[in-house]
């Protein structure tokens, strides 16, 4: 069965230098089990191929049913160095929620 991440979670993204952090929050416990199991560092790195040029780190916040991903080398230099229209990675949470998960 295919699940759209957008249907089971929401989130927010932003910048820290040239890294972007994406927090993904599941709407319920079942959703959290799914993202915890399927949203691995490797999967997120592959999803952002061509965007995230560095490593992806994953952290867990089970208290709010959330995962936090830090995507290194992602914002074209960050700050005012970046030439990207979305230099602060504000739309990257939505980009991650595009993912479809096969469960």
């Amino acid at each position: 069965m295919k699940i759209k991440l957008l249907d089971i979670a929401h989130g927010r993204s932003g910048d820290k230098g040239d890294a972007s952090n994406i927090g993904i929050i599941a709407y319920d416990d079942n959703g959290f089990e799914i993202i915890k199991r399927y949203l691995t560092e490797e999967k997120v790195k592959k999803h952002f191929e061509g965007i995230c040029l560095g490593k992806v780190e994953r952290f867990e916040l089970p208290n709010i049913r959330a995962l936090n991903f830090v995507l290194h080398d992602t914002l074209g230099g960050g700050g005012t160095v970046s030439l990207k229209h979305d230099a602060q990675g504000k739309t990257l949470a939505a980009a991650l929620l595009r993912m479809e998960i096969e469960i």
Partner: protein
């Protein structure tokens, strides 16, 4: 000693809703108004303003705002805490005093937190053995020393507490952590020991929830965003803090927006790294310990916060000049909007190449197609595309190349693909690229100083 205070967030960044602080102090009861004005690049912009005029270098919105809110805050005894002093907190305080005099306010005390600006101390700090190595690359600051535009230490809540202890109505700081602005009144009002790291973390997390203004009360909410009522009159968040460390996030009644588990949770994950280790000068807060309970009616309880002691270092934020950049846009209409925009980009790049200009990077994006999600963007049948905006940006250490790029955009209108519009505002001028240099400095090398200015 009080056991409960209400702290209102008035600004999430410099450029936020101008009327928000006014509504925070008029639409309901609050004890403190906290306003964060400083993003990473803001200090360098302020430093440039100060270089031109020694009386500038702070958030210029503040004196204007004070004209509206100072009489109210003085009457209701609402204390104001802001880091909008930027690189010139004294000048900011004097400008506020000037406003107070104009308003014929009789008694006012402003505490100014100084000592964060280490721009003129770099050599001395390096010779003491701290090379302010870049936290991301490990490189020593010596390599960019001559290009430094600003260098500021992030202070925490304690210098603000010192100001409040001296009965200040207003505390104006330079580079203070956003979270410290909110934690400080809790330490002061509740007499919290600064070694009680669970309490320090509770106040810090309340600060994190407040620091981006309405981003925790329904703004920029990615969940069911259409369910957020009346965003036009969005209420900014308020932290109702209790002396035992619990905090209820809420907003004034009769305002728009929403405070819910989801809106607060989104702000909690905003711009964090390892949630177990949120490092500030005051503590290391553990975001994975926080419990959130949605009490309904725009009230969310934040409790059970755990944390540990801070490190022996302050974070330093330096900025330095690193070349020039420019960007410009052109809009192409149906039919074949994307094909036309791509053709224009190709023509432009060929011309830049023929001119033998030097760029560190040229980036082309197609707004309406892929400027946000890049390669993740869905392929679109061009027949369905009404229009595309081509955005080209360049960066170079050669000023001339960037300037010349600006002269190559408008010609595309008459010498490139058809049905193009949207070039307005003249040739884009090169702007200075300000690069960011994060570092650490031993706490013993810097000392916050609190200066009192009285009316």
């Amino acid at each position: 000693m009080r056991n409960k205070i209400r702290i209102a967030s008035g600004q999430g960044f410099w450029g936020d809703l101008i009327d928000a602080p006014f509504y925070q102090v008029t639409k309901g009861e609050v004890d403190y108004l906290v306003m964060d004005y400083l993003a990473e690049v803001t200090m360098s912009i302020l430093q440039k303003q100060k270089n031109k005029n020694p009386k500038l270098g702070y958030a210029k919105d503040i004196p204007e705002l004070m004209k509206r809110i100072l009489p109210i805050c003085v009457e209701k005894n609402i204390k104001i805490i802001t880091n909008g002093g930027g690189v010139n907190p004294i000048a900011c305080a004097e400008a506020v005093m000037e406003v107070a005099r104009e308003l014929k306010i009789k008694k006012l005390k402003i505490a100014v937190v100084l000592g964060d600006d280490i721009k003129d101390r770099i050599d001395e700090i390096i010779s003491s053995g701290c090379e302010l190595n870049n936290m991301e690359t490990g490189e020593s600051i010596i390599n960019v020393k001559d290009k430094i535009l600003s260098a500021n230490v992030y202070f925490g809540a304690i210098p603000i507490v010192d100001g409040l202890k001296q009965d200040a109505n207003i505390v104006i700081t330079g580079r203070t952590t956003d979270t410290g602005l909110t934690l400080a009144p809790m330490i002061y009002e509740f007499g919290w020991e600064k070694e009680n790291y669970n309490l320090m973390s509770a106040g810090t997390i309340a600060g994190h929830i407040l620091e981006c203004g309405a981003q925790s009360s329904g703004g920029n909410f990615l969940g069911d965003w259409q369910s957020i009522p009346n965003m036009a009159e969005i209420g900014f968040p308020i932290a109702e803090a209790f002396s035992y460390g619990e905090v209820i996030i809420t907003k004034h009644k009769n305002t728009g927006g929403k405070v819910s588990f989801e809106t607060v949770a989104e702000q909690l994950v905003y711009e964090i790294g390892d949630p177990k280790s949120y490092i500030t000068p005051d503590c290391i807060a553990d975001f994975s310990s926080i419990k959130l309970e949605d009490l309904g009616n725009d009230r969310v309880k934040v409790f059970n916060v755990k944390g540990s002691g801070p490190t022996d270092f302050y974070k330093v934020s330096c900025s330095y000049a690193d070349g020039f950049s420019s960007s410009s846009t052109l809009t192409y209409s149906w039919p074949q909007a994307l094909t036309k925009a791509k053709a224009a980009d190709k023509i432009l790049r060929r011309r830049l190449e023929n001119l033998k200009l030097q760029f560190d990077e040229i980036r082309s994006e197609y707004i309406g197609f892929n400027s946000c999600h890049g390669p993740l963007s869905k392929e679109i049948d061009e027949e369905d595309l009404n229009e595309i905006m081509l955005r080209v940006a360049v960066r170079s250490h050669d000023y001339y190349s960037v300037e010349r790029f600006g002269k190559e955009i408008a010609p595309l209108i008459l010498t490139g693909p058809p049905s193009v519009t949207g070039f307005a505002g003249g040739r884009p001028k090169p702007s200075e690229v300000v690069a960011y240099w994060p570092a650490l400095i031993p706490k013993k090398l810097v000392k916050p100083v609190v200066k009192i200015i009285e009316l």
